[in-house]
Each structure stands twice: as C-alpha cells, then as structure tokens.
Symmetry: C2
C-alpha cells in the first residue's frame, strides 16, 4: 500500500486529478511539479492514512513510518539539505489539505526542523541572526499552540510583554537578542505546562505535526461544517510536507508577486512586483517599496527569463491569467503558489477576447469566462481612477461582503427614519445599520447605498438592495456601530452621523470621505465578445420598454425587438412632449369617471392621437424588429386622484360634480388590487378601451409602413385565464384591426397573443393556444400568484425566507431568480401544452426574470423563443443565453461519454 507521494526535482508521483487521495493542495503541488514549474520539493501523506487512522483506534498503518523515512531521504537528496543538520539544515512546512477546503482544519506549521543547532546554521547561511531567531520563535510558538494546544493568548502575551520591556512597538523592531529571549521563555512555558522539554529532534517535531493534522480532521468545527454542508464521501485529510525556501538570504534572493497579464486592463503584459532580500510577508506589510518586474529583469536577467518561462508554462497549462507568488533563494527560483488571478470587468473581457484570438482558449470558453456581474459592473458607477491607490489604502475603514456592485457616496446615517428625513431635505445618505429589518425598507429605499455589520449575501439588506440594484455591503464585521450615539468606528477611526463615506460594492470596501465616482467606458473587447455570444445563442433577446428613447437605447444594447411595451405608462406621461402630459392624464381620468359608454368613448377619442403618436415613435425606433404591445393592465384606481382637492380639480375640468368623481374613485377601491379588476378584465368590461388601443396601434403601424418603416406589431392581452375570455378579446382585436387596415387600403401583418401570468392560464395553455399566436410569460405576476406572494408586501417576511441563516426556504429571491421548482414547473407545462396545440407557438418571457442569468438559462432549457429584459440587462441576457447553449453542449458531450 502506497501512503506517501513524493514530488520534486521536476517529477511527481501524483498528479492534478488525484484530489481525492492527495487533497486539493497535494494534487496541485504534484501537478505544478509535473508541468515543470520550479516548485519546492516535498511529499504528501494520503487521505487513506487519515481514514486508516480513524478506523484503527488512531494508529497509523505500519508501512507509513518507512515510507515517510524514504520520502524524507529523497527530499533531502533533492534539496541537498538535511533535516536538523548543523550546517545546511532542511526546513519544512506542514499543512493539512483535503479534497474540499473547510474551516477548523489545522493551520500551517512553518520552519519545522529548527532547533538550537540548526537555527545557528540558518543564521550563518542567511547572515541574518534576527531573521533566524524570528523564524525559530515563530516555529516554537506555532508548534506549542497548534500541535500541543497550549493557549495562544499566553504566548501572545509573552510576546507583547517582551516588546513592552524593550520599548518597541512593531515586531520588526525586535532584535535577534529579543527573539532569542522569547524562544527561551516559550520553551520554559512549554516545559511547565507539558512536563516535557520542547522537542529538539526534528523527526519528533515532524510526527507531532503530522498527528496534529490528522487530529484536526475530527475537530468540532470541521465536523460541524461537514454535517451542515452535507459533505460526505471524503476519506479524510492529507498532510503536505514541503521544503521551506527563503528570499532573505542575501542579494541573490528575493520574493515577488506577479500576474501573467495586467489584472486591471487585461493587457498582455507581464505585471508584478519584486523585493530584493525579503520574505513574502515583507511584500504584504508594504514597508519597503517593491520594484517592478522590468527593473528586476535587469537585476536578475536569468531569473526573469525563468519567470517568463513559468508565465508561459502556466498560461498554457491553466489557460487563464495566473497570480503567482515566487521566491528566489540564492539564485534559485521557486514558485510557491499560483492561482487564477482576480481581475476587473474590463480586464475580464480583454483577456477572454485576447486569449481566444491567441488560440489559447476557444471562443466558447471566452464566453464562459465572463459572468453576468462582469457585464453588470460595466454599467454601474465605480470609484474614479483619479483616486490614488495609496489614498484608498489610507482611507479604507473596513471590508465586508460585496452584496450588490457599484459604488455609492453619501453622508452616514444610522436609522431608517433619519435616512428618510435627510433624503427629504435633498441630502445623499448611506444607511448604516448593524442589520436591516422590514421597518428599515423606507430608509433603504431613499439611501444611495446600504452598509451593515452583519449578514451574508442572502441577508435582508442584501436581498432588498439587490432588488433595487442599489450598492450594498453587508457583513462588515469590523465595524462597531452605535446607532444610539449615531456613530461607527473601525480600525480606531470614528465616523459620525453626517460624515461622508464611500462604498465600493464591487470590492466590498468602505472608505472615509467623499470620492469621485465615474461610469466605466465600454471596452472594445466587450463588443467583440458579445458578438461571439450572439452567434452562439439560440434564444432571442428583446427588451421591456415604453418610450422611443428607451427603445433606441435598448437597440444599442443589442435588443432584437420589444417584448413588452406597457401602454399605460403612456396614459400618464408624454415622453416626447412632457408639457402635454396633463392633457393625457385628464383624458384617461375622464374616461374612468365616465358613467356610460358614450362619455367613455368620447374621453378615449381624446387619448387616441396621443397613443398613436407614441406607437409611431416606438415603431420608428424598432424599424424591422417586432414590437409586442400590451394593452392596458393596471387597475383603474391607479389613474385617479385620491385627495379631495385633486378630485375637485378633476371634477371642474371635466364638468361633473365632485361627488361623482369621489363616488367613482371609492368604487374603484380594491382589497387586493393585484387580483382585482385589471388586465384584460378591463377590456371585457369596457371593450371601448380595447378598441381605442388597437386602433392607435394599427393606425400607427399603417402610418409607419407607408413611410417604408418595417413594422411587426404583436398585440398582447394581459392576465387572461381562459380560452373563451381570450377569444372575446381576440375577436374584438381583429375586428378593429381589420377595419383599420381596410380603411387604410394596405396590407399589414400583426399577431394577437397573450401573457401567461396566472396559474390557470398556464394550466389551460393547451386551449388558450387555440386562440393565441404567442405566449409571453409575465413571471412577476405568475410568481405572485403561484406563491401567493404580493411583491409589494413580501418585504416583511421574504428576506427571512431567502436568508440561509434564518428560514432559508428559497435559494434566492423568487422575484429576481425564477423559482424553477414551482413557477418554472408550471411554465414548462404551459409551453408543452401550448405547443401541442400550436406547434409554432412563439413563446417569450417579459418578467424581471428575463434579465437574470439563472432564469435565462431556464428559458433556454424550456425552449422559449426569446427573453425580454430591461434595456440595461439586455447584454446580460445575451451572454446568459449563449452560456446556456455552451452548457447544454457540454452536458451532451458528457452524456455521450
């Protein structure tokens, strides 16, 4: 039985696919070695050892000791060093590593192999006493607390006491003497508490560390985590024992971080920092200013060439930009770690497109690399690049969970009431709360951004803010918020009510002061990649919009038509000539207050030219593309004034008494307007509304067509629930349309269809498709009715339903990401029944979900013809639609195997 896998000197016994046996880290080290990277050598004890250990009363398999001994010998040979050697001692790190990372597992032990003898060799070799004894005290400290379990606090206390004795503040100020003294103290403490001397024998140290790793597999925290996350099937943890390397042994040494491409622009340049004669922590501490890679290339040309080779190797192997940590020890390059590098959205597009063009990845992979958030961030404000990096570092208050991207600037307020009051005065505020609750929703709404100290991505604040696309940072645990005193503090800095702060929702960072924000510019690579996506996707992408301006914008964003044009918005506002809005309002109100068909018709006749003009504008903007126009949908009470004065005003204008107006308004009141007299029910009761709207649509279409504009109107009836009902509407629609077309003496194609937004409509889809030429899922209302959830009211409890830490009933807010299990099931049923009746039935979606990537995937899966999203979400839908195709292909390929 093989329990130990060696890697080093360009060859490894394991490889990258052996995660189950070697753990993630062990497999990674083996893989890196195999592809020729100069990885420090070492060996891995397999997860089977761990399994055996727990199955045999915490005993190791008898072969283990021998295999460890042999591997250690190979390691000593490969490095030319010897564990515990008085002249050239081998030092190693010991780390845990299972196939899945989890909290509670043992932390790293560094510098193992140091003892009173070898530490002197290290000092001599590095010509740095201070470094050697610092390394030694670190090892003793870690070993004592992590392996033996002595209280960390006691050890830390001794360190602080020593510094205070010496009158220094930072660790860097402590001399070699100081560290040496501390080691002594630690060892005395060790003996006092364990009754034994600190182990001087490196092999004893090694077995102690191995035992601690295996012991941590059953630590409470790790066991709980595996239970909660339902992680099963793992054998245990592996143990990685790796040669230590030092970048601070002199001027032939150093340490650095580099990216295979520029992580902020995406440019294909080698980008990184290097510190001569330094350890990794010196880079992080930021005390010495590192040199750029090109400087380093002059200083250490050979190392730089090696690095360039590493860069190529890594990009070729991992086929993505890598973030590399390296150390040069006495002229030898070691790659310590490599991982896929973080990047800005702009860089994401640039790299994806470049790599595809280079042939490093396929176009499909380039498409898969981009996430919805990357697109989204391109359209949200960010902190302007004029703000200096140093300034950012200096002003950073804390970092939390980046719940909603974008950036926001405002004055801090600490209660929702104050947020509302300040906003009323025209002030820009950031609402800061420990956590938000339903009572805070009003204040959240008026705030520029939201910041909380607790909660994760499914917390109340995150869910509500995401619904509005409002910058939000949650779980900023370092913040100490005192809403009574109206202040918060972090890192010793205090922010009081009214102080300006800046949130970076992309990074989850909170800054003091007011920073300049800017909108990112769209990179050329964005356009290229979206074109590639368009070629791949099968799903059409339309937009929801109601004005010619929005329609033009949406076309720019790649919309291939309008999936939802809400006509009632036009009732209230003249988007082209705002001064005419009052005239429209009056006409619609007169129509509603009318007590008989004749006066209703009269009022509608006034509205007709307005609507016709609106439609002409939209048809012009959408020349050549289909436009789905939904007839009036909201309950009429939304259009009438509810205050006495306004009612009097209306009464005067249309020449009836105020009581008539008041009575009519009172009659329109509904207990549950969402389920009331709205949608197509209005046109069943008042067919004259349908007549006016259809006439306006068709007259506009005829007008445009005569001027050479290609018009494809699709007339859509909302909220239908039965074939018979839709038939009445369809007959009415076609009658008016045909009359109008005949009168104009032209030919015009148009479709008549329906929204599917009630469960009954979905259930009866087979019959409804006898009449409807197309379906458009109104998933907002469908979600409301299928779940019995009023979107307006759900704020009171829905966040608890989404929050995994509370009820956690839903994986996501069902108004943002389609509830596939429930609502989706019904939609799938409706599509299959509808197409059984009418195989060519056109099916789309026009709820908010049309712009949500997960939901778009579902729409693709159930073979819709298109999704329709708000203009700014059109690119997200285009990308998601393409990714859905690629996923489908990958799944098919997998199945074939």
């Amino acid at each position: 039985m093989k329990y130990v896998y060696f890697f080093g000197a360009g060859k490894a016994e394991g490889h990258g696919e052996m995660k189950h046996l070697l753990g993630g880290k062990g497999a990674g080290l083996a893989e890196m070695t195999n592809i020729g990277l100069p990885v420090p050598a070492g060996f891995t004890l397999t997860t089977e050892v761990c399994d055996y250990f727990y199955k045999h009363g915490k005993k190791y398999p008898k072969e283990l000791a021998g295999q460890v001994k042999a591997s250690l010998a190979r390691l000593e040979k490969a490095t030319g060093k010897k564990l515990g050697d008085a002249r050239n001692p081998l030092l190693v790190s010991v780390r845990s590593g299972s196939a899945r990372s989890m909290p509670g597992m043992m932390e790293t032990i560094l510098n193992l192999g140091l003892n009173e003898q070898s530490v002197q060799a290290l000092a001599a070799n590095t010509k740095n006493d201070r470094f050697a004894y610092d390394a030694y005290r670190r090892f003793v400290q870690m070993y004592s607390s992590v392996v033996i379990g002595l209280p960390k606090e006691d050890l830390e206390h001794k360190l602080r006491a020593m510094k205070s004795r010496l009158g220094v503040k930072d660790d860097t100020e402590v001399s070699a003497e100081g560290w040496r003294g501390l080691v002594k103290e630690y060892k005395a403490y060790f003996k006092e508490h364990t009754g034994k001397a600190f182990p001087e024998d490196p092999e004893e140290q090694l077995w102690g560390a191995i035992g601690a790793v295996f012991g941590s597999w059953m630590a409470d925290k790790a066991v709980t985590y595996r239970r909660v996350e339902k992680i099963t099937g793992l054998l245990g943890t592996a143990v990685n024992i790796v040669q230590m390397v030092f970048g601070n042994t002199g001027d032939a040494s150093g340490t650095g971080v580099c990216f295979t491409r520029d992580p902020s622009t995406g440019e294909k340049i080698f980008y990184g920092d290097f510190l001569l004669n330094a350890q990794g922590e010196d880079v992080v501490a930021g005390i010495r200013t590192p040199m750029h890679l090109d400087e380093m290339s002059k200083l250490m040309p050979k190392i730089y060439q090696q690095l360039e080779r590493v860069r190529k190797l890594l990009e070729t192997h991992y086929r993505d930009m890598q973030d590399i940590e390296f150390t040069v020890e006495e002229g030898t390059l070691y790659v310590l770690q490599t991982r896929t590098g973080k990047r800005t959205p702009t860089a994401t597009f640039q790299m994806a497109v470049d790599m595809a063009k280079e042939g490093l990845i396929t176009k499909a992979e380039a498409i898969e690399r981009v996430k919805a958030e990357d697109i989204e961030r391109l359209f949200y404000p960010v902190i302007d690049s004029s703000v200096q990096r140093t300034d950012l570092l200096r002003r950073k208050l804390a970092t939390g969970v980046n719940a909603v991207p974008g950036a926001a600037v405002g004055q801090a307020v600490f209660t929702a009431q104050e947020a509302e009051a300040w906003a009323k005065e025209g002030k820009k505020v950031i609402l800061v709360r420990r956590e938000t609750s339903p009572e805070d929703v009003g204040g959240m709404f008026v705030a520029q951004g939201i910041l909380t100290a607790t909660g994760g991505k499914t917390s109340h604040a995150a869910v509500v803010a995401r619904g509005w696309g409002k910058c939000c940072i949650v779980g900023c645990e370092k913040l100490d918020i005192d809403s009574e005193q109206k202040l918060m503090s972090s890192n010793g800095r205090v922010v009081k009510e009214g102080d300006w702060i800046t949130l970076d929702g992309n990074e989850g960072a909170v800054y003091e002061g007011k920073m300049a924000l800017t909108m990112p510019t769209l990179p050329q690579a964005y356009t290229t990649l979206m074109q590639w996506a368009d070629k791949v996707r099968r799903l059409g992408v339309r937009t929801n919009c109601d004005t010619p301006t929005d329609a033009r914008k949406a076309r720019e964003m790649g919309a291939e038509g309008i999936g939802l044009c809400r006509t009632e918005h036009m009732f209230f506002k003249d988007f082209e000539q705002p001064e005419k809005s009052a005239e429209r309002q009056l006409a619609i109100q007169e129509m509603i207050v009318a007590e008989n068909v004749d006066s209703r018709r009269k009022a509608l006749a006034k509205l007709l030219p307005f609507q016709r003009r609106d439609f002409i504008g939209i048809f012009e903007a959408m020349d050549g593309l289909p436009v789905t126009i939904r007839l009036v949908d909201p309950p009429l009470h939304e259009f009438v004034p509810h205050e006495h004065e306004k009612q009097q005003e209306l009464a005067d204008k249309i020449g009836v008494d105020v009581e008539t107006v008041a009575r009519r308004v009172a009659q329109l009141h509904e207990m549950n307007p969402m389920l009331g007299h709205r949608g197509c029910r209005l046109c069943i009761t008042y067919p004259e509304i349908l007549e006016m709207q259809v006439r306006a649509i068709i007259e506009a279409a005829v007008d445009c067509q005569k001027r050479g504009i290609k018009v494809l109107p699709e007339i859509m009836h909302p909220l239908t629930l039965d074939r018979k009902e839709l038939k009445i509407l369809e007959v009415g629609t076609r009658r008016v349309a045909e009359e109008t077309i005949k009168k104009a003496g032209v030919k015009l194609n148009y479709l008549v269809g329906t929204m599917i937004e009630l469960p009954r409509a979905a259930l009866m889809a087979g019959e409804i498709a006898e009449v409807a030429e197309f379906f458009s899922f109104g998933t907002n209302d469908l979600t409301q009715t299928v779940m019995g959830l009023s979107r307006d009211d759900a704020g009171r409890f829905l966040p608890d339903y989404v929050d995994a830490a509370k009820a956690g009933v839903f994986p996501a807010d069902p108004f943002q990401t389609l509830d596939v299990a429930g609502v989706g099931q019904l939609m799938e049923m409706a599509i299959s029944r509808g197409r059984r009746t009418r195989p060519k039935l056109k099916v789309g979606i026009c709820g908010e979900h049309g712009g949500d990537p997960e939901s778009v995937r579902f729409c693709h899966k159930v073979n819709m013809n298109y999704v329709s999203a708000s203009p700014f979400r059109v690119p997200i839908a285009r990308l998601a639609a393409a990714q859905a195709v690629l996923e489908e292909k990958a799944a098919k390929k997998k199945k074939k195997r």
Copy 2:
C-alpha cells in the same frame, strides 16, 4: 320503407325508444299505448320523411301518400269516426315533434277535419252549437295563420272587432252566431289574400298541415336554435296526427287533472280535480270549481276505477309520481298527457322513501331522486301554510326565475343607496331593481331579498345573492319598475317605496303584503333517506366550525368530524362567555403591538387559557371524532384598531404610547393582504404564536383524554408553499406537543398536516407530503390564486364572466362551484403526487366548495378522504357524496356494456 307508425286500440307500431325516428312526442304516444293506457289513437309520420323531403327538393317519398291513407283508415276504424263525415266526423290534431324540443317549430293545429258539413255534426253530437262553432273558428284561425301564414294580428283584430260589435268582453260570452259570423269573415279574408277558397276537403287540410310541420323544421328560429345549441345528427321532425276527444259533449263527459300521489306531502293518495262536461281549458281558467277525485268516484265509478288502473300502470311504468291530464268523452276515458309531477321538498323525500320501501324503485334510485336544492329548501324559511292558497293567488304580483330559494319579507326600495339607508334604521327591505350592477352590492347585502325584472340564473343579482344564500328572484319580466318614481307595477297593481312585499324564492313568486314565514320541519323520510345515503357514500363528511355550539349542531347534521376549526375567530370572541371577549382582544392586540419576543410571549401567555378552554369545548362536542385545527391564518392587521381613538384606548390599556400603536398598525398595512404576511408565514416570523397555539391544543386534548373523552386532534398549517417551510413548522409543532405530552405523562396521538391553498403547494405536493400527514385543500384561496381573482373584489366583473348572456367565460361562480378545469386539475395533480410520496396521505377539502354538490362529486372522483362543509351544508354533502358513488357505478355498468 315504412314512413307511418300507427297507434291505437291498445297497440302501437312504435315504442318509447324510437325517439330518433318518431320524435319525442310520437315515441311517447306509442309507449303509452303499448303499456295499455287509453290514449287517443293516431299515427306518426317519421323524421325520415322530413329528411327525404329536404333531400329531394321538398318532395315526399312516393310511398307516403298510400301509407297515410292506410293509417287514416285504421284510425277511422279504431275510433268509429270518419274524417269529414256528416254525422260522426273524426277530428284530429296535427303536431310537430322531433327528438329534441326546440323553439320555432310549428304550433298545434286542433280540430282539423271541421268544415261546413262536419261542424254541424259536431254541434248536434255535443248538443252545443256554441262549442262547435268556437272549435271551427279556432281551426280556421290556426290553419290560416300557421299553415298558410296569414298575419295573426289581422285575424285577432277581426275577433276583437266582432266582440266589440257584440258588446262583449270575454270569449265565453260570444254566442254560436257570433262564432259562425267570424268563420265567414275569416274565410272571406282567406280568399282575398290567397285567391283560393278555404279548403273544405279534410284530406287537403291534413296535407296542408303536414306540409306546414315539415316546413317549420327549416324556420329561421329553429335553424338558429340548432346552430347556437350545437344540435346536430337529427333527421328532422316527425308529424303526429291524433284523434281529438271532447269532454264537453254532455254529462257523460268531463275533464280533469290528477297526481298519482299528493304533490305537497308526498302521501300515497290519489289526488286530483275533475270538471263535468268541460274542456281542459275550463279547468285552467278556474271559473268553475272542480270536484275532488273522490266525489268523481261516486259520479263515474267505472271511469274512476279505470283511472285508478291508469294510476297504477303509470307508476309501475314510469316509477315515479305522475301528473296526468285526462278527458272523458261520452263515458270513454282518454289519457291525454302524463308527465313526472312537480312536488315540494318534503314530498320529494316522502315519495322517494315510500317508493323504495314499496319496492317500486331501489334505494339507490331514491337517493338519486333527491336534489341538493330539496335539502337546501328544508333549511330555508318558506311562506307559512297558514297563508291561504286563495290569498296567494289574489296577492300574486308576478312570477320570475327562482334564482335563490327561501322566502323573504320586507319593504320595497328601488335603489341600493336607499336599501342601505333604510337598513341602517333597522328596517327590513327588499331591493327591487331592473337589474343589479356592482354598485348595488352594498344595498343587496343589507336587503332581506332581491328582486329584478331582467336576467337569468347567471345574472349579476342571481350570482351575488346565491353567494350569500339570500332569497332572490330575477327575470320577473312582468314587473314594470320605475326607480325614478320609486314604484313598480304589475297586473295593474302598484307597489310604492315602503310597501311590504313577500318573495317566494322557491317558486319565484312575488306577492303583495307581508306574509308569515316559517321554517319547514324536517320530515322523518329525510332522516331515513340520509341514512341510506350515508351507507352508500365513500367520502367522509366533516364540518367547518369554530365553536362548541356549532360543533354540536354540525354533529346533529351528520358531520363526522371537524375539517376546519379556525382558531383566529377565538382571538376575538369568547363564544361561551361573551363578556370575556374584550380580554381576549386585548391580549391579541398586545401581542401584535409588542416590539420584541419577550413582550409577545407575555401577551400570548394571557391568550393561552382562553384558547385551551375553547379547544376543550370543541373536543368535548366532537368526542370520538377527528378535529382539524388550523393555526392562525389572517394577516395581523385584521386584529388591530385603525381609528385614532381606539388606538389611544389600546395604548392606554397596554401601557405604551399611542405613536407606538399607530406605527405598528401602519407597518401592518398591506397592498394585497390576501398575498401578504399571513398563514404559516406568521409562525415563521413569530414562532411563539405557534408554540402558544400548539400548547393550548395539546393541553386541551390531554385534559379531555384524562376525562375519558376520545380526542383526535389534527394540527394544520395554512398557506404553506414548500417542504422546507413546512418542515420548520412541523419540527416546532412536534417539539411543543411532545414536551406538553411528556409533562402530562400520557400518550396522545395527533397528526400534523397542511392546507394546500397555493398553486405552488399543489405543484410541490410530492415533496410536501414527505412532511405532511394530511392535506386539506383550501379551495377558496386556491381559487383566488389559481385564477388571480380576489373574492372581495371580483364582484365588479365576475358576474359578467359567469353570465351566459354576457362574457359567459365560466359555467358557474368559481367560488361556489369548483373550477374543475383549472383549480381541479391542479388538485388532482397534488393528490396524485402527494400519495405517490405517502400512499396513506389523508386528503380533504375545507373551502366553501365542500358543501357544493358538483364540487363534492369532483372530490369523490379524485379520491379524497373527506369533504368539510359549513354545518347547514353537511347534509347536502352527504347526499352528493352518495350520488357520486351511484353515478360512478352507473358509469361503470355502462362501460361494461
């Protein structure tokens, strides 16, 4: 080819099953002849003649003339009379008759065969000149208008002119001379307009009438009717030629009407009226007072014996009570017509039970004979039997459509506003409208009954009133309503605002004045029949009730448990000790206003003893039967005061400031409370409510069980939509229940289940059944969500959706009769998915539909375990459940064949 079927002298060539060929009437006459009834003889020309006629350019098949001639000869032989004979002329009637009755078909031609010669013989034989010439002028008049198509008005005008010349008012005052003169006038008019003399030849008359019958098959009205009603597959109409008989030929003649059993009590006595020397119309006219059958039995003992024989024959043959019209012509009995007799609800039960006991019908048939309305009427008030029949006749204003049964007394008002104003003053009103509209709903609600001049059973008034079980008569077209003048008139009588009127919703009759109403007493036969039904049915029948009193009542009505006990009603009212209601209200309001868990718990602790006492009362009443208790369901805003003063009062009582109360109340406001924070969502947010309620239930159960009462509690969570959600509630429920049981040191069985009242719950039923031990369909809310219809608001448009004369989208109000196509489909899916997970899953329904017969049939069909209805609808559900079994058996039998 046989085109003519003869019947007479005790034998017929056709029979009752030959409707397709002989039409309904012809088949009926053949059947009656065959079973030995003394039916007048005659013959039928088949529908195939009609078919041939239209397929061959309106020509008859050549065999027809000969077959008619032969049949006529047989008829003459059977009757001993001869067509057109100068001494003993045969007179016949000619009628149309297809397999389905329809409007537009030719009316009857009577007395065919009369001419100048035969009329004299008729006069001589009946010794009644006046009668003979009246009969003659009727024939000429009918023939001229119906067969030849001369304008009816002209002929009527001549009749009126003649009467005015003679100075008489009623037809009965016209002498033989007068009629003779009119015949002359008619004939002159006939010649003038047709250019031909009125046919004297009876055979010519006969062929004319036959032609008119076949012609009427293609009359516009008939053709339209067949198209609208989608009647297809009929060959055409048949023609029935039947011997005329006369009851006014002297004292050996007469005419009568009788019922084989008493139609008002159901008693098995021969019940009827007879008029000596009279025609049928004399009985209807009501001028002469008829004798009872027992008087007649002394006068004409042989005829009476014959009638008794007919009675037996008919009941044996038709197996139901018959309503018989008969005539005695010169000592010979002729049965002219027999049909199933109308009866009171009491009589319905009596006859069904008696006939089953006699062995005339099976118990199953007895059960099938009773309708839901029959039961319903037994529980609605009726006009007291102390009100004289003559009084009823005298005071009857009009008759309309009996839309909702029961009787109502009140003062007439003519607008909804007045109804509301009068009712506020404590007056009882009947709302009278030409038709009702949504604006009238308030007035309709406060009225005792509703009366409209227009509309049918699906009109707005009918649908709304039926929802409330409120007496309603619609389509009373004889009423002339003037709501401006606030009066109505009918039959020359005027009813003004404030005048008392009485409605009989069973008969659809409107009476002047205030009549005494009474509740019918339950007949013994009712109990018997319901017991039979109980033995047959498979579905359990439970009740929806919330108080011990209602629980006892429901048990009396046959409830086998409680299917829905709404706990929130108890929050507001102490049904046993009403003076304690305020205390409860305060506790619940305190709980709602509470700002943290502790104060909520404190308030709930006050509520606990009240709830426990309520549950004890209900468990006692339901000893041995299951009780399903639903935890709190409505949104909390329903429990708190909305007016400032009441809020102040509450604030004072619970010791917080009024702003806190007002703020909390404002927070509770919802846009769509139906889809808001209610149902089990409350217990997800406030688990302490669940804890209190579960504790109260289990403590009450333990208390009862200790006293020897058998308790079967079923704890039900409302409005769930997901397995995870229900799991949280179930865990909470079991934890509290087990704690309580353990503390009491007893064993107690209880179930935990859920309502299925959201589409998502139905869709996810398979998963939800992993947790739920039972499902109860809340079809009120399920209908609201599946259809997107708020029951509170639908009054504005739903009546149009139900009214067949308007949109007619639904066959019935979906809140009364389950929408099987939509809602039912989803329920069926939920049941099958639920039972796939948990085969023994108990399934019931507790919406209003549980008391609707059609819906109960559906519940049976989909294999529910029980339905639950309000106490008064329990018997209806029991009956419908039994009928469902019988229908199922019949359908199976049919299938086997």
